[in-house]
């Protein structure tokens, strides 16, 4: 009984609200876009691409230092791009108040640009002093031999 009700509810939600609303907002809003919003949209998508790179790098790279390379760079860059894109897109009118929000978002970007490299550096130093050495040619050869 309960399951039936729930299923019905789910079906209702699926076909009644979500997708048509999404499509509607897409089509209606594509008409009244201005150039700044399009620019912000592009920045956000570019940031997502950078973050995808960082995530894949974290997954695929062989040792800690190379992973840190991917995470540190991709993380800072994608954060800056995404936040500035969001700041440009969410600006409704170009009054003083909305510019203030944009400046605050840029403040977050500045904050992350200061702190993220610092924390990466601290982690690298801690790992290096813990005698955690990067991979060298011997290790790579060993890994290749194992694969064969």
């Amino acid at each position: 009984m309960l399951k039936k009700k729930r299923k019905e509810q789910e079906r209702k939600m699926k076909d009644s609200s979500f997708i048509p609303v999404l499509a509607e907002t897409m089509t209606s809003s594509l008409n009244d876009l201005n150039i700044i919003q399009i620019f912000g949209f592009l920045l956000g998508v570019l940031g997502l691409i950078f973050f995808l790179g960082a995530a894949v790098g974290m997954l695929r790279f062989p040792d800690f230092y190379t992973r840190m390379h991917a995470a540190g760079k991709g993380d800072s860059m994608s954060t800056m791009l995404m936040l500035s894109g969001l700041g440009l897109v969410t600006m409704e009118d170009y009054s003083l108040g909305s510019w203030l929000v944009f400046v605050k978002i840029m403040g977050i970007v500045l904050f992350i640009y200061l702190t993220s490299p610092t924390s990466t550096h601290v982690l690298m130093k801690a790992a290096f002093e813990d005698n955690h050495m990067p991979l060298d040619e011997k290790d790579l050869k060993k890994a290749k031999g194992k694969k064969k």
Partner: protein, 101 residues
């Protein structure tokens, strides 16, 4: 437009966090784990701004994002400092052991 864009960015952020979660789960050393946690923390600050855009309250959620970024930085400094200290003490212990032997 704003809703659609925020949904896209937020959903993709959650999706791309999955490899990082895998790195936290598997990560051979503690440093890998804390690095992945650090990246997720930075992206959570972005996610807070995205949630603000969804609720039409960006001016409010920006403050949360600043506080979150601050605590994230503090957390990674604390953990690396702790690991640094334990490593230094282990080194000294090994040295004294070697001298005795």
């Amino acid at each position: 437009m704003i809703d659609w864009f925020a949904m896209l960015v937020g959903g993709s952020l959650f999706l791309f966090m999955v490899p990082l979660l895998y790195r936290i789960w598997v990560g051979p050393t503690a440093y890998d784990r804390i690095l992945a946690v650090n990246v997720i923390g930075t992206k959570t600050a972005v996610l807070l701004v995205v949630i603000g855009a969804l609720f039409d309250r960006v001016h409010m959620f920006v403050d949360f994002a600043i506080a979150y970024a601050l605590l994230n930085f503090l957390a990674s400094v604390v953990v690396s400092r702790y690991l640094n200290r334990t490593a230094a003490e282990r080194n000294v212990e090994e040295k004294t052991k070697g001298a005795r032997a």
